[in-house]
Subunit: 284 residues, 4 copies
Amino acid sequence: MMTAVILIHCVDQPGIVARVTEFIHSNRGNVLSLEQHVDRDAGRFFMRLKWDLDRFMIPREKIGEYFQTLIAAPYGMTFDLYFSGQKPRMAVFVSKMSHCLYDILSRWESGDWQVEIPLIVSNHTDMQPIAERFGIPFRHFPVSKENKVEQEAGQLKLLRRESIDLIVLARYMQVLSADFLKHYPHRVINIHHSFLPAFAGAKPYHAAYERGVKIIGATCHYVTEELDAGPIIEQDVIRVSHKDSPDAFARKGKDLEKIVLARGVFLHIQRKLLVYDNRTVVFG
Amino acid sequence: MMTAVILIHCVDQPGIVARVTEFIHSNRGNVLSLEQHVDRDAGRFFMRLKWDLDRFMIPREKIGEYFQTLIAAPYGMTFDLYFSGQKPRMAVFVSKMSHCLYDILSRWESGDWQVEIPLIVSNHTDMQPIAERFGIPFRHFPVSKENKVEQEAGQLKLLRRESIDLIVLARYMQVLSADFLKHYPHRVINIHHSFLPAFAGAKPYHAAYERGVKIIGATCHYVTEELDAGPIIEQDVIRVSHKDSPDAFARKGKDLEKIVLARGVFLHIQRKLLVYDNRTVVFG
Amino acid sequence: MMTAVILIHCVDQPGIVARVTEFIHSNRGNVLSLEQHVDRDAGRFFMRLKWDLDRFMIPREKIGEYFQTLIAAPYGMTFDLYFSGQKPRMAVFVSKMSHCLYDILSRWESGDWQVEIPLIVSNHTDMQPIAERFGIPFRHFPVSKENKVEQEAGQLKLLRRESIDLIVLARYMQVLSADFLKHYPHRVINIHHSFLPAFAGAKPYHAAYERGVKIIGATCHYVTEELDAGPIIEQDVIRVSHKDSPDAFARKGKDLEKIVLARGVFLHIQRKLLVYDNRTVVFG
Amino acid sequence: MMTAVILIHCVDQPGIVARVTEFIHSNRGNVLSLEQHVDRDAGRFFMRLKWDLDRFMIPREKIGEYFQTLIAAPYGMTFDLYFSGQKPRMAVFVSKMSHCLYDILSRWESGDWQVEIPLIVSNHTDMQPIAERFGIPFRHFPVSKENKVEQEAGQLKLLRRESIDLIVLARYMQVLSADFLKHYPHRVINIHHSFLPAFAGAKPYHAAYERGVKIIGATCHYVTEELDAGPIIEQDVIRVSHKDSPDAFARKGKDLEKIVLARGVFLHIQRKLLVYDNRTVVFG
């Protein structure tokens, strides 16, 4: 079955659901799932709708145009439209740690994730052998204060050439510049090894140990210009005790990091995420 | 704001969402939230829709009739309709333990739950002083093998007189007969002190201890004729260790029991539960 | 069975466990449980030991003196000694919310907690009827900027008269002064409604909502001079979603608050907590 | 620092801790951590003790003999003795799914686990390429009803030749015979994809879906003759909803399986597990 997913947000106003579902129905689409949410304080309307395209009368390549003209324009909507079969093209950025990388590649290889991974980028060469084992091109961009602008330019060129539409920072220990991020708004997903906003920045496990917390966390978020302050996609925690050293925090945390990152990326791949006002709407 | 909630299920067929939302919209209702789900294997459609009644053109007492005639009948729907301001009338059944009872009464007294509690029923008198402190009528029905039929008849008479529409078994240690349950289909909520289906029946904490599990659970479910086999509403777990005796299991479990029961009852009160094929659909 | 619990910490040095257990054994005590931990970085030794007093040859009232002379002094130990049957005398401080108070009183009334609660203190009178229902003296100390010093003096006088050795702040919305706290070092337990160190200070649920977190938490900690920065005893979290308003955060959070506070207080009552360097050692 | 770990269990009796710690201390060992537990109902004593060997006066190869003669024999103890630097030799058994295998190999390759993995065994060849990428010998034993006895004999021969002391069943879909297990008592670790004892046997995700549970789990346990009934090492759960199909249960479950299996194996590797009466004592 071919399906389409549409994500919509706009100012709340009467009749939106009726109008959109009537559009689907009258053109012989069948709604497979619909989830709608109104943020009353902000007066905003959010919706995700998935429908069966098999007998839909509007050709796939024309749906966006028709929807824009007939519905989005009059209601002042912002929308994103996706079709089953379109696999996101994902680049993985890594530094020296392998746990998130193996986790991602294992999901991709087994077919659990409908994505293409044409590129692994790193500021080090440690992960090159892993990339090679999976047959994925590995590109080394050693980044320093001096060459950062130029290296990011090189990365962007490569990303464009490979038609990358999603960047996953799998414990990539470099801060991306605001200029770089402009090219991938809400398209760069990071895993931070703390339950944000606690312990933003460097060495969160040490900071957590010093504070004597009883739970540690990991946070998957879209990267924005402000460090560790982008829209949160997913978080989870695990218990620690006074017996755990900062090293034990880090070891336990690795399991969290890879699972929380994977959940966040999977939500993105399934087109279940919508960003508004630096927060995410996560459709179920 | 006056609001209405409608819960719908029927055989899946095209155009339902469009038809229902058009009904709301054309009569000047505004959809506040909508969640729809199709069980593809079973070919069933489920929906919960909440709308603003303030300018709705059909009088409240006529909405059910109109909906039945115009929509439910042609589509073969089953539906339930609720209005804000209608507080469920809830009876609490208890035996000798107070933790769930205090938890429920505390939520009711603070106004966190929009319910009326006109009645507490018990097979013992231990909880009578607590009922009295909260000013709630307490009725003692000592149940034995011999008098069970007659006592249940007395309970039913009382429940009818008090117009009870929801019964909460807050660690009530008696099995209700199939005859009794017929009067309250999916209207009796129980808390069982294990993660069902593990450890159904008596003494689950001892059984869990014997098996050496590392987590114990609690399960909130609708009561049906078959013991501990009704539709599950909510479950949660807590860690235990080899250091915990069966008594420690029971002590830790009490916290789970009251919280899981409260979550289940709250979902029911918010009209977020739909039962189909001995399972619950829990709208978010 | 009469039992004793000893909590020990000191600089790590060889032979401590052997020396202490030999002291117990040679005086006809039987070790019931022992947990020992060395913080290697800090070079500190921590131990909790519980033993059977029934045939112990040193009279109860002399054990502390003998232990001090024979063992604690030569090893430079700090220790606390407790006996079964000694119930801590606990004062509960509240403001206007009842959920933690009911939870505490319900545990006390059912005998789950071996404590005495001779006193409830509040800056408001809202909780007075609840105190009265449980037959516990309620004392009203309305606190303002102007009268704070004097009111705290009055509270301290009362606490001393009632021989209170543990103060539980059950959502008490006042900051206690450093002077007050000096009288109850590591004897004042608070529940803060966030996973500290995130969202310290006022209105944590609103701050969490604004940040768009996917989990909210509660933190039970000993109160120290610095606001929300004392040694953490226990923490836990619960999931929230974009559908949850700040009010829903607060409602969900109430369940966390009471359970996390209760776990923390219970650890204290069981003499399982040791504070060192603003962190807690929590024996299992 | 060279260290030793001893795990002890025996009938509870006075003076054990004193005697053992005196043995360590008087021979110039320093206790690094000690955890002791008495099961009062069973009258059993359990202890794990780790000590610093650097200045220990008894040569490593003689410690077992001395301990047996001087302490274990008089007290009727069962004990196991391990030394740092001795890496367990672990064989991984797999069928067709890669998620647990990648997870294990990734931990091993990064040095997070102090083990050797000289062998991967499978009843299929699907995982052979993964084994080869990691440079680990892969042996194919296709098992059928007819050849099971003979294939197990071949496996045992190979395991002995490779001096394997731990077998990890990483979603190995074959039942091992009682005869096979006799050679590896409490040395075969399995992951079962349910929270045992619920949904033992085949197709637990489908059974969980049919029952309509709200949480699914995974259980890591030692394999014994009775299917899915061995001593439980570790369990964890994850939430599911009515929206999740059995396939979604399986997908979510895969994350649980690999993490729970890894935690269980790591506890074994750290020598923190003791089995008694079909239950595990898990030292912290």
